[in-house]
Symmetry: C2
Subunit: 336 residues, 2 copies
DNA sequence: AAACTGGGCTGGCACGTTTCAGTGATCGGG
DNA sequence: CCCGATCACTGAAACGTGCCAGCCCAGTTT
């Protein structure tokens, strides 16, 4: 068994209370005594038992963060933002990966609640999770990340995907004066995919174009590079007057790029390309890829700030729904 | 305050011990009583306090995993492997990201020890960490991941980088009969970079070539795509008879690929390319990239198995050093 | 010299759970 | 009718820490 404060106290010839004071309020202990206790601690290799401390304290200094996929750079950067803020506020962060599986999400919610975390940041697999609602009802503050709550009964932080689509459309239609563009996307039942299309259509209208005419929607079953390659292959095979493609994420765009390179097309001269997310590889692609960037780390920071604010002032706290605006990053794939 | 077992017991009209039995040994409780207790639990929204449980138990059912960078797909997949095995054995995994900073690593080691995790899996920032050694001396089993312990006093799992370099060399020199190749690498003081070069030289000798003549080493200060681009730009500018490049990781290779595409060179006809790590983007690059793949998930699984074995049989346990062999994945960038 | 002050320490309770010895109650067998 | 066995439950101790009331004593004030 690991040595306890009692062992330390005996060795140092003091009481347990004094050992506790050395650890938690060192200024209340005389120098000589403190030195003795510290010596005993290091000789015995004492390490505090945080279970006991937390049990006694009745509350922990930690937050839970449940994301859909830690491998996804979006969530990874969100997590960094959360850690930044949490660390400054003296909170620890427990990282959980739901893998988009509801049962994993529920298990983690259970574990976090058993650990008595002070609050939870989560991108739920599905909206309206019963388990999550129960947690909130029992008094654990909750913040939604990259989601919004239709009935505002918790804070949330998300990004305006309509604005992102509009930004992309303005770049291709206004600035570079493309007239026929493709929107390569995953399933339109995914809100992000649909929102970005809506933004794109808005941009077309603003450019004085008929969206139905100017935009060819290529809806694919997934959002990865292979799917992008297939979409582009189909597009190229059918022959088309399209001169630009806006893709619902960078992976699709990289797939389109590969199809272009392998069929000898020049980017951006034969076809301009615009992605979404600005993943690391966008800048390093064979033709550096223009993209719509979301303020990922800031999202995490804002979410953590909201949560900590609610944890620290549960009474005066008012729920907020924060919406960030994305930003356009232009590189070679859309020309000058 | 969250309701405790005492509250549940009062509401159900039973003793605390019975509530505990309902939760932990339901077969020892009569059906009628069990139903009453479960009803009380759900009415009060009782959730067990794991701090108290763990304090009483004296031991936890969890493992710590400290990696250098969770954004790196290598560690991400290792973590998945660890979770696979841990879950089956009924252990929870606490994920920690040291970010290659010794002070973060030390802080996490402290936290894990305070939480009384049963064992720790770690890729240490530096070998010979005093804090890690102390943890081990105090009796917490430890497994090194992607590292070896010179004095075998703990288990470890790593990959044979010399074999990986040799595999790469055999592919380019034997199979595709290149005679002058470049090795684009990060700092050679990084063991992995140096080992892969040694393997490559071995392959050259086996092909009956003089390594110094056949291999041009391009040592760069970093291992990212931009650096690869710069390395290739330099190589191309100087004019050279090199027909293939082996890169110490895929990011460098992607940078070289971009330099090739932007200067109108054909891959693999003008220059063949071979990377290392087989990251997701390797297959989706503008020219799909051949690469040396490490059995990442398996590494995690093996490490977790060793650790759990040691946790469960601390006495009979004998330390093991496992070395995996990497595997060659050929795609278009090295031709047929 | 007595009363007061306060720094420095002690001792014991409380946190919520698990576990185990012990208490009745019920039942079958002799 | 009694005994032992079995079953379902109770009550209390223990885990290690944090906190607080209270004690002691040295130094200062009245």
């Amino acid at each position: 068994m690991a040595p306890s404060m009692k062992d330390v106290a005996e060795r140092a010839g003091v009481s347990v209370g004094t050992v506790s004071n050395v650890l938690n309020r060192p200024d209340r202990v005389a120098e000589a005594t403190k030195a003795q206790v510290l010596a005993a601690i290091s000789e015995l290799g004492f390490v505090r038992n945080s279970s006991a401390a937390q049990l006694r304290a009745g509350t922990s200094r930690s937050l839970g963060l449940i994301v859909l996929d830690l491998a996804n750079p979006f969530f990874h950067d969100v997590a960094r933002g959360v850690e930044d803020v949490a660390e400054d506020a003296g909170y620890a962060v427990v990282l959980c990966n739901s893998d988009e599986q509801a049962h994993r999400e529920n298990r983690y919610l259970q574990v976090l609640e058993e650990q008595r975390v002070r609050g939870v940041l989560i991108t739920p697999v599905e909206v309206g999770s019963e388990r999550l609602d129960a947690l909130r009802r029992r008094g654990t503050p909750t913040v939604l990340v990259d989601r919004h709550d239709p009935n505002v009964n918790c804070c949330s932080v998300a990004v305006d995907d309509v604005a992102g689509g509009q930004l992309a459309g303005a770049c291709l239609l206004d600035r570079n004066e493309h007239r026929r563009i493709a929107y390569v996307t995953g399933p339109l039942k995914i809100r992000q995919c649909a929102d970005r299309l809506n933004g794109l259509r808005l941009a077309a209208k603003e450019a004085g174009l008929d969206p139905d005419e100017a935009i060819t929607v290529v809806e694919m079953p997934a959002l990865n590079a292979r799917t992008g390659y297939e979409a582009a292959s189909r597009l190229f095979r059918d022959g088309t007057d399209i001169t630009a493609a806006f893709c619902a994420n960078d992976l699709l765009a990289l797939g389109v790029l590969r199809a272009a390179v392998s069929t000898g097309r020049q980017v951006p001269d034969d076809i301009a390309l615009l992605g979404y997310d600005d993943i690391d590889f966008a800048a390093d692609a064979a033709v550096p890829l223009s993209s719509v960037r979301q303020p990922r780390r800031q999202i995490g920071r804002a979410a953590a700030q909201l949560l900590i604010e609610e944890c620290d002032n549960p009474i005066t706290h008012a729920h907020q729904q924060i919406m960030f605006r994305p930003e356009l990053v232009t590189r070679e794939s859309t020309g000058g």
